[in-house]
């Protein structure tokens, strides 16, 4: 429920009052989290393992491309997207069944080419096509929804160095909402893991 509310707050900040910030910066703004930069894949991979082992839960690794096996280094659980896609596939096939039998056998039965009203064979191609179509929609839009996208504003974008993530940098970001977050200790952890350009990110409301 709380995660649902916080997701809703991403889209409709006026509807949900955010809880009081746990940490504020010197200028009084809410602290979003701490970021640390890496330039090599193995370095960020091992750093992610350190952060995972330190017990953080609200954190993320931003990389220009998906790093192989990063989900185990971060301890990410498998996504439920395949189940959702399977559901979409079944919905698509059922839609095709209803559409074809409903119109050809019930709403306006008509003899065409001497075929029986309810012959299933000619209906197979469209069952397949609609199954694929619905699955494809679920793959893209389900993926986006689970990711909380589209979301055009994010505190991380205010950090200019973060924009290089789309090129060749790797950034670990630990959120201030994490129960284990502590400005000093988290920074020390990231330093020990080899991160550079460690910075505090403010959430300018």
């Amino acid at each position: 429920m709380t995660s649902l509310l916080s997701q809703a707050a991403d889209y409709f900040p006026m509807l949900v009052r955010k809880p009081a910030p746990r940490f504020v910066s010197e200028s009084g703004a809410r602290v979003h989290g701490i970021v640390a930069e890496f330039t090599e894949v193995p370095a960020v991979f091992h750093a992610a393992e350190h952060v995972r082992d330190a017990g953080y839960s609200k954190w993320d690794v931003h990389t220009p491309f998906p790093i192989h096996d990063m989900e185990s280094a971060m301890g990410i659980k498998t996504t439920k997207l395949p189940l959702m896609a399977g559901g979409a596939a079944i919905t698509g096939v059922l839609t095709a069944i209803v559409l074809q039998w409903g119109t050809s056998d019930i709403l306006y039965p008509m003899v065409v080419q001497g075929k029986p009203y309810d012959a299933w064979e000619p209906f197979v191609p469209i069952m397949f096509e609609l199954g694929v179509l619905f699955t494809a929609f679920m793959c893209l839009f389900g993926m986006l929804a689970l990711n909380g996208l589209p979301r055009f504003h994010h505190p991380l974008f205010s950090h200019e160095r973060f924009l290089k993530v789309s090129d060749d940098r790797f950034i670990i970001a630990i959120e201030a909402d994490d129960p284990k977050f502590d400005p000093v200790q988290t920074r020390a952890l990231l330093e020990k893991a080899g991160g550079t350009h460690i910075a505090l990110i403010e959430d300018a409301e």
């Binding site: 193995p42 990063m70 694929v132 893209l140």
Partner: protein, 531 residues
């Protein structure tokens, strides 16, 4: 790894900031004394590099985004002007057709499907390479696909756009084209779901939609890269002013206009949906991509099968054969790869740094696919003929012998033999290694195959129809100038879309190219770049 050239290190420092700078070209284009660019080794113990020139991640970003951000060469502008003019011809022809009627085409009582459906099947076939490369080669873990999948997918979309025009205007009264959709008409009658023509509507529209989703999903991270680069340039005051390219001389600078980087930041920003390269997102993204690849694989195979049902379920000799679905699918893959090669080989010359990402090995692999599918198509031609004889159906045999093959009897023999030469003979050149490693030879074969595949559809459609069962109704088909210009114009539409894609979107799948680079492995000691 060679020592880094001082200019290169300067380029490295500046990268991502200067608009549209390209990294220096790699020093040695080929291994000295050969035409090998370093990827053609047949040593099984050595994996051919997928990215040449010891490129870093940043350089790859610069190569791909650089071309999308830089001023395009004047040649591009000339090509765009030409192709847009040709596309304009298509629009005029379509308008002329709509206000006058299908009588402006060369259709007659016998040949009521001709040029237009030939073009439809031709374009939809071209559209098969993109999804094949991204889906089937993805499932088969063919890493080389990363260099071509984006442009091939783009080609798919544009070819389907061209394909969609023809059945739409073929119906004659285009304002009744909504009869194709599952909507009851005013008498409450629904479209006939038992007809392959309706399956075709569903297959092609599903294919177009899924290809578009697949293409767009692959582009989200790369568009986000373009967005971030534009934002960085804006923040560092490196944006160029708005300029309108002029055919001769310098651009016309409009300093009071909004800067291009501002437009880029908002447009690419909107299109990239706020993608922030999170590993949690990547995890779901990769799953979604894999599933899309999984469902697109049977989809690709189904689309041209269903297109072939339009023909195969009729009783017309020459159409009524069970070999059509696999034969059409092989032909579509064949024609699609030919078009990919036909467009990408000149691109390597015009935009030279692309040859780091699109190596001779990539071209050779695609040439091998041309050889394979070309031979499959040749087998299908032979088998069709064999069954026409062996099946002892005199009408079917007559279609082959008297309508197609025999120059003494078949008026369209030249179309048949053009098809055989282009589709069966030309690809056989690729048995010789030096031919399939030579971009010029590959390009010529690709051109021949593109022509040959158009003739294949012409042969199937027109020669079967123009002389069916009753000799009294035999009639020749001649295209009119409207027919011809509509097809030429559709090529213009295709090229216009492709040229705009080259300018405004990432032509290579950046994130995917980076994955297959050796630096991308999290365990460099016991793993040489991906599994």
């Amino acid at each position: 790894m060679s020592a880094i050239h001082p200019d290169q290190s300067l380029a490295n420092r500046m990268h991502g900031v200067e608009p549209g700078t390209q990294p220096l070209p790699r020093p040695q284009k080929t291994i000295p004394g050969s035409s090998d660019d370093g990827t053609l080794s047949e040593d099984p113990g050595k994996r051919a590099p997928l990215v040449l020139g010891d490129r870093s991640f940043g350089e790859v970003t610069n190569i791909v985004c650089g071309y999308a951000e830089a001023k395009m060469p004047k040649l591009w502008l000339a090509a765009l002007t030409l192709s847009m003019s040709v596309a304009g011809i298509a629009q005029i022809m379509i308008l002329y057709l709509i206000i006058t009627g299908v009588g402006v085409w060369g259709l007659n009582n016998q040949v009521d499907w001709a040029w237009d459906i030939t073009n439809f099947v031709f374009w939809i076939g071209i559209g098969h390479a993109g999804t094949l490369i991204s889906a089937i080669l993805c499932l088969l873990k063919q890493n080389w696909r990363t260099a071509v999948n984006r442009s091939a997918e783009a080609m798919t979309i544009f070819a389907v756009v061209c394909a969609g025009i023809f059945p739409g205007i073929h119906v004659g009264r285009v304002w009744f084209a909504w009869f194709l959709f599952p909507i009851p008409n005013s008498n409450g009658i629904w479209p006939n779901f038992r007809s392959p023509l309706l399956w075709d509507v569903f297959a092609v529209s599903t294919y177009a939609t899924v290809s578009l989703l697949f293409w767009y999903m692959g582009m989200i991270p790369d568009i986000a890269t373009l967005r971030d680069r534009a934002a960085l340039r804006r923040a560092n005051n490196l944006s160029r002013p708005f300029g309108i390219p002029m055919p001769i001389g310098k651009d016309l600078i409009l300093p009071w206009m909004i800067r291009p980087d501002t437009i880029r930041m908002f447009v690419y920003g909107a299109l990239s949906l706020g993608w922030r390269f999170s590993s949690r997102h990547w995890h779901r993204y990769e799953k979604a991509y894999l599933m899309l690849a999984g469902i697109s694989t049977p989809l690709v195979l189904s689309v041209h099968s269903i297109v072939s049902f339009d023909f195969a379920t009729s009783i017309l000799p020459g159409w009524h054969t069970t070999i059509f679905p696999p034969y059409f699918v092989a032909g579509a893959v064949f024609g699609g790869f030919a078009m990919v090669l036909f467009l990408l080989i000149p691109l390597r010359v015009i935009l030279p740094n692309f040859s780091d990402l699109l190596t001779l090995r990539h071209l050779e692999n695609m040439a091998k696919i041309l050889l394979l599918t070309g031979t499959m198509v040749g087998f299908a031609y032979g088998m069709e003929f064999f069954i026409a004889w062996y099946g002892a159906n005199e009408y079917e045999f007559a279609v082959f012998a008297n309508n197609r093959v025999n120059p003494a009897k078949a008026p369209y023999w030249w179309a048949y033999w053009t098809m055989i030469t282009c589709n069966v003979v030309f690809p056989q050149l690729f048995w010789k290694r030096s031919f399939r490693q030579n971009p010029l030879v590959i390009w010529i074969v690709a051109l021949a195959v593109t022509i040959g595949m158009w003739f294949e559809r012409f042969v199937i459609i027109v020669t079967s129809l123009h002389r069916a069962f009753i000799p009294g109704e035999w009639h020749m088909f001649f295209p009119t100038w409207v027919d011809i210009l509509t097809f030429v114009g559709s090529c213009g539409i295709f090229m216009t879309l492709f040229l705009l894609f080259l300018k405004f979107l990432p032509v290579f799948a950046l994130a995917e190219v980076k994955i297959v680079m050796p630096q991308a492995s999290p365990h460099p000691d016991h793993d040489e770049g991906g599994h």
